[in-house]
């Protein structure tokens, strides 16, 4: 057991982590892949998705919860596959793989934890009309930080997730600093 203080079974640790996630998100469908337990770096990448929100592939849209518990698509990345499949802001997400989408965390986690190539059936209601979209996740180059300027000069910085990396393109703090901190702005 190199570099270890406590002997462990990686599979048991992984199952405990997924069980802990399920406690916070009843109905979570995140499951350990068959390859889990043989490569710490790959396993960390898998668990990072549900733990810190950094997607393995790019779900490509954001959700918010309505007062009645429904999930609504807030924004869609044009560069990501959901946009190509017709998902748009304002669509109500009703089902994920046939299961009702009633809790944001439990239903969205699989979308973030799945790798590129994974297929989901999304039930959406654009304008109140039910529609099923077959979504194939694709690896998208989505930065953790984006920023833009509104017409009246207000600067908007959106931080999607937090990550540290020696490569500035993957380091959230570096990306935020590049946005600049002067002038009126708000952070999302």
């Amino acid at each position: 057991m190199r570099d270890s203080l406590i002997p462990c079974d990686a599979g048991r640790v992984g199952r405990a982590a997924v069980a802990a996630l399920a406690l916070g998100s009843p109905g979570s469908e995140v499951r350990l892949p068959a390859w889990f337990g043989f490569d710490a770096e790959r396993d960390a990448s898998f668990l990072a998705a549900p733990m810190c929100g950094e997607p393995r592939a790019a779900p490509g849209f954001f959700l918010s919860r309505q007062r009645d518990g429904r999930l609504t698509v807030v924004g869609v990345d044009v560069a990501c596959s959901p946009h190509a499949y017709g998902v748009r802001a304002g669509d109500v997400l009703t089902h994920v793989d046939g299961r009702p989408a009633v809790r944001a965390n439990s239903q969205v986690l699989p979308l973030y934890a799945a790798a590129a190539g994974a297929v989901f059936r999304l039930g959406i209601e654009p304008g109140g009309w039910p529609l099923e979209v077959r979504l194939v996740l694709a690896r998208g180059e989505v930065p953790s930080v984006v920023w833009w300027r509104l017409e009246d000069g207000v600067r908007v910085v959106r931080v999607r997730w937090f990550a540290s990396s020696p490569d500035g393109r993957g380091d959230t703090a570096t990306l935020v600093r590049r946005c600049g901190w002067t002038g009126p702005w708000w952070c999302w």
């Binding site: 406590i6 959700l63 609504t72 109500v92 207000v154």
Partner: protein
């Protein structure tokens, strides 16, 4: 500075928002955050694995106090946009945040 938060704001995002409130006089706009203001303890396991366990409430960098429910409550509460608003390109939270930023920048 205005920080827009809602129920999707969780963990590190809540910590950042809390720090900006206490250290940079930021104003929170939106809805209550998820409730993940915790500190974590890491334990080294075998073969490069680590076990991360929440073990106590996170406190503000200046107040040194935990927040009720381990979550942040916005000073300006704005409900999430409705589907019809989003479909029309409207975002009441964004619009409120924009107005608050301009108001604070103008000193009014």
């Amino acid at each position: 500075m205005v920080v827009l938060v809602n129920e999707q704001t969780i963990s590190a995002a809540e910590l950042l928002a809390l720090a900006l409130v206490e250290l940079a006089d930021a104003e929170l706009v939106g809805a209550s955050t998820a409730g993940g203001l915790n500190e974590f303890r890491q334990m080294e396991l075998a073969d490069g694995y680590r076990l991360v366990v929440p073990f106590r409430a996170a406190v503000g960098p200046r107040s040194r106090e935990p927040r009720p429910g381990h979550r942040l409550e916005p000073q300006v509460r704005v409900v999430n946009a409705r589907p019809v608003e989003l479909a029309a390109g409207l975002d009441p939270q964004l619009e409120t945040a924009r107005r608050r930023v301009l108001r604070r920048a103008g000193g009014s």
